[in-house]
Symmetry: C2
Subunit: 213 residues, 2 copies
Amino acid sequence: MNTNHEVIRRLSKYRNVMRKMKELGLVKVFSDNLADAVGVSPSLVRKDFSMFNLTGNKRGGYRIDDLVSKLNVLLGKDKKQKVVIIGCGKLGQALMNHNGFPRVGIRVVAGFDSDPAVLDAEAPIPILHIKEIKDFVTKNQISVAALTVPEPCVQGMVDTLKKTCVKGVINFAPLPLKSSDGFLVHNMNMEQEIENLFYNIHFAETNPTDSDI
Amino acid sequence: MNTNHEVIRRLSKYRNVMRKMKELGLVKVFSDNLADAVGVSPSLVRKDFSMFNLTGNKRGGYRIDDLVSKLNVLLGKDKKQKVVIIGCGKLGQALMNHNGFPRVGIRVVAGFDSDPAVLDAEAPIPILHIKEIKDFVTKNQISVAALTVPEPCVQGMVDTLKKTCVKGVINFAPLPLKSSDGFLVHNMNMEQEIENLFYNIHFAETNPTDSDI
DNA sequence: TTATTTATGTTATATAAATCACATAAACTC
DNA sequence: GAGTTTATGTGATTTATATAACATAAATAA
Ligand SMILES: NC(=O)c1ccc[n+]([C@@H]2O[C@H](COP(=O)([O-])OP(=O)(O)OC[C@H]3O[C@@H](n4cnc5c(N)ncnc54)[C@H](O)[C@@H]3O)[C@@H](O)[C@H]2O)c1
Ligand SMILES: NC(=O)c1ccc[n+]([C@@H]2O[C@H](COP(=O)([O-])OP(=O)(O)OC[C@H]3O[C@@H](n4cnc5c(N)ncnc54)[C@H](O)[C@@H]3O)[C@@H](O)[C@H]2O)c1
């Protein structure tokens, strides 16, 4: 399939909007509604759906229920998505206790750290020693980790994880890690994002429909 | 100018790479070097520079010193970039104490919260009551805020900030806020990013050169 | 000094992504 | 039940973004 890289991100947004619409008691939705909510054109909404054979009714739009459950399967949201947090410092601990994750089916199953002071194997979400990472991810079939270790440790940690069943990481250190063969990296670079926002505010011509990035 | 939306982000990456090269004692850099480091083609690096009249030497590449200081001006990194954190809970506190920000010239000048229990006007980075936000940003000429309040408060907070000198926010709540007229929003949606990573791992055809997003 | 090498700067080309436009079919109207 | 409305689904077109190609000028070598 000729899958555009942004389309999955948009499907996820459509899904979230529809989940909220459903809570309001709504039953159907039109491409115009989703377009407005997500900030794209209606035709792109339809094309995105069409690309994955998500069909609606020639007049009555799409049935929310139907579409959400199909999207759940498509996006893998019908299964619990297990992640581990590597580096339980300020940011790592915030992520471990973030209640937004369980709400959307993301389950933080453990944290790992090298500092004995922060370890706690008995906590609801245990914090284990980093030396146990390989065993743990293997035993628990973890495919995703969040990297919240100091920048100098990041590359080494990636090299370690590559030898396990972990297939991708969200990297929070401000260095642009690159994906390779079977190992995907998504970078969340807050410094970069703030710098970029400053630039757009102070130097870029103000473009009203500048997208949310 | 016909500015591509991604180019500023790349300039920022080039700059970071060059700063590190400089620390290693290097003096000049070639488009190939930056291309490798950032994961784009050398011609794109040159085009990005050319777009902003950043020129090198027909044979000897670019002088790092020169380029970094020009990029500093271009990106506004020659001035301190002041931000406030709105919502000093788990994530907000992590951001307030994040040592990566000062390191790149981003200064968190204050936090704001509605919960009296977390206020501390005497701390090095004071945490003030949210009712003081308007006065503070006006007096201190703040143009950027990080939004780390619970999702239901986000829209209201944006409406408040729009009436001040704040011209943009980084939104950490998992709802896709849209930019409008003179008010820019950059969304950092971790839930979305993790979902997307899961999808790419489990369903997408493994594409080695899948970019860092 | 002349030839050769090499990396820039820029134009031409290719690829990717989004919008436009419209034929189509379902649902309403009279 | 014929005509009208309306929103989907998709091919054609436009716009955006990245790569490839190459002429050019500085540096080196002969
Ligand atoms: N604090 C933030 O809000 C924030 C924001 C953006 C990015 N980040 C990035 O996230 C990372 C962590 O930041 P932080 O502020 O939480 O730092 P921190 O110092 O509070 O936490 C880092 C943790 O990693 C642990 N650690 C160090 N080496 C390790 C190793 N080899 N194996 C396992 N654990 C190890 C430390 O013991 C510590 O607990 C950094 O790369 C930082 O740039 C943080
Ligand atoms: N914790 C994380 O790691 C994490 C990760 C991703 C996104 N987020 C998002 O960041 C936001 C904050 O998450 P958190 O985990 O820090 O939550 P939290 O409950 O720990 O913190 C929220 C803070 O906002 C304050 N607050 C509430 N209403 C306010 C108002 N009207 N004005 C000012 N302050 C107000 C609360 O007093 C509290 O201190 C949420 O939207 C969440 O979805 C958090």
